[in-house]
Amino acid sequence: MKGDNIIKKLFLSLLLVATFSFAKETTIPDISYDDLDSALTDPSSQEVMLHPMSENLIGSTAWFLIMSELEMTLELGPCNPIPGLKSHMIEPIGYLERVSSPLNFPFMGFQIKANPVKFGDTHETGGETGGENQRTQTAHAHFIYVPVIGMLMKKTMAFWCLHNGPIALPYLSEFDPTYKQDFMYLKMIPQMAAMLSPDVIVSSIIDCMATETAAALYGFSVEVEPPEGSMPNSAVENYDQQNFEDQAAANGESGESFVNSVKADTREIANTIRNSMYYIDGCNGFTAVGGYQDGGDPIKETHGEWHQMSVLLRGASAMSQTSFLDKQSEFAFNGPAEGHLPTPVSSWCGPKEFPMPVPSETVLQEAYPVVGKPHEMGQTGIAVSTAKNLPASEGTVMVVWQRRDYAAFGYACPGMLTRKNK
């Protein structure tokens, strides 16, 4: 096709222009190195933070999620030769970093201060308040693939089919030539034209509601203190003295409650809306142009931070050659997603490659510099933990959790090195 060739040429030429424009923008570091090795061996080129996240890997991850969501049923799966039993689980598959200077890895507490490769970074060090300097600053993002629980318990917990494989860096924005080009970044958001209509803007309300509903049903939003102390030792233990309100006692019997009536269906509807409106990041709205947050303090702008992480996750997943965020749950598309994304294929028996992270199966959780509770993708990031006095940090790290509906014992276990199993 002639038209296709022209588009390809145009795209390539833009890529070249972008590459050269990076070269122009690059600020020359004080010390220059010929290669990465010498940069790494020179102690003056490295800055080790006091408490890297990896030192507190266990304490900074909300492990309770695993046991909270793990569930097995006796429904037979469709797999062959072992049909398997339909089950649900969640596991942490990696860490998403957002940093204000290139090649800074808060996860490891490691920063390469030298600039052995020209990253096209316009970051300038300056005063504390930033001012002019911050306007030229673009945050960088990394995705570190570390399926911690799979690495620790792969053998003993084989039925979970945990992610395995090496620690990998599938996405570093420093090496992504499209990262800082608004126009080229559009490829990650195919719904750009539709987004600019008022109706779609309003539909983000619906997506927001759906996200919050799903979050409430997963138990992420409602926080009530559990009863404490010793329990009465009678035959029937009545906890009425806790003075809680059980509206369900009335609603449950009459069947009036919408949620009670439809039970899991409510979550299903909410998730269908969320997945169909994948271009809207729940209550965070959507980013029309560009995937990065320009300027500003990532720590102070908590809300922007969450949105930014979601956007980066999408971008990273779409960009990476190894799509680490596979489709792992059953869902359907309705509306605009149809025709723009491939029809979801059943993933009961093995993960399926998919171009976007599925909103309903992705959970983000703050891990550094503060540890926060898990959030549904697109759920508002405002939480008590994010409003506390925050330690100064050049970056933030979030744990990426991924849900899975699978047929246990019949499932082809995922892993970056075992993709042929699918």
């Binding site: 309770f64 969501e69 409602v222 009530v224 233990e237 006692a249 609603n251 439809v262 269906d265 509807i269």
Partner: protein, 272 residues
């Protein structure tokens, strides 16, 4: 988009969705104590928040300002004034969607699910639990909104064999029993309930009210807890002496309770 509307409109029809449904919160939605709670959690009630830069910054800013913290009636009024019918979405469809969204969120945050939680060990006979699950399905078939989750004390080392035994056990029975057990069999391994409610000896059974679809000690309130092996009938019988409204449950179980047939009986049937 039309299909989204369809999927959203079906529940309207199924669950008698009309304007009267909103009386409860249409005039004063989420503005009671709940609102305070929700605001603490989310920072806001509804509307959109974003940090977008670019072309539609102004539109979004305006929307943020207008819709943030609106009641349902205000939001509808706003849509009526500022939005026109398009091919993509008519004004009425948009309002219906927003209504359903409000309703879903309202109920997800305020209403709770009734759960029967069963705590057991590997040593507990499968019959005991299966009979309870059959009882729960009898309650469900009689229109009661109750769900069940079963908590095992830890993951067995030989989980595949354990689950395989369960499968063999259940699928040996006639279809009506299989179906009712499988529908309510949701095996979980969450150790937190055991710790919070000091359940050191299993089995134990609890009636809980949860604000989430996945029970957790934080989102659930256990109202009644009986330790030791007991049938579902006995469980509700004892509870009904404290709260007479549960007499209904007892009567249903008495009239419709299904119990697993003994294996010998089934074998004899096969021989015949």
């Amino acid at each position: 988009m039309k299909k989204i509307i369809l999927i959203l409109v079906i529940p309207f029809i199924l669950f008698g969705f009309d304007s009267e449904d909103y009386k409860e919160f249409a005039t004063n939605p989420l503005t009671s104590e709940n609102q305070v709670k929700i605001k603490e959690e989310f920072g806001y009630i509804n509307g959109i928040k974003n940090t977008n830069e670019g072309i539609n910054k102004e539109i979004i800013k305006e929307l943020n300002k207008k819709i943030k913290g609106m009641s349902l009636n205000e939001a509808i009024e706003y849509i009526n004034i500022f939005y026109k019918d398009t091919e993509f979405l008519t004004k009425k469809e948009l309002i219906d969607l927003v209504k359903l969204s409000y309703k879903m969120q309202y109920e997800a945050l305020t209403k709770s699910h009734m759960f029967l939680l069963y705590f057991f060990t590997r040593e507990v006979p499968k019959n005991s639990m299966a009979n309870i699950l059959l009882g729960v399905s009898a309650l469900q078939e009689n229109g009661l909104n109750i769900e069940s989750k079963q908590y095992l004390t830890g993951v067995p080392d030989n989980i595949q064999e354990y689950m395989s035994n369960w499968k063999t056990f259940v699928y040996d029975y006639p279809f009506k029993y299989q179906n009712n057990i499988v529908r309510n069999f949701h095996l979980k391994f969450d150790p937190r309930f055991f710790r919070v409610y000091e359940i050191q000896e299993a089995p134990a059974m609890a009636l809980a009210f949860c604000q989430s679809a996945i029970p957790t000690p934080k989102t659930c309130k256990i109202k009644y807890l009986i330790r030791g092996d007991t049938s579902l009938f006995d469980f509700f019988d004892k509870i009904s002496k404290i709260e007479p409204k549960y007499k209904k449950y007892v009567n249903i179980l008495k009239a419709n309770g299904i119990y697993l047939p003994k294996k010998e009986v089934k074998n004899n049937e096969n021989k015949k």
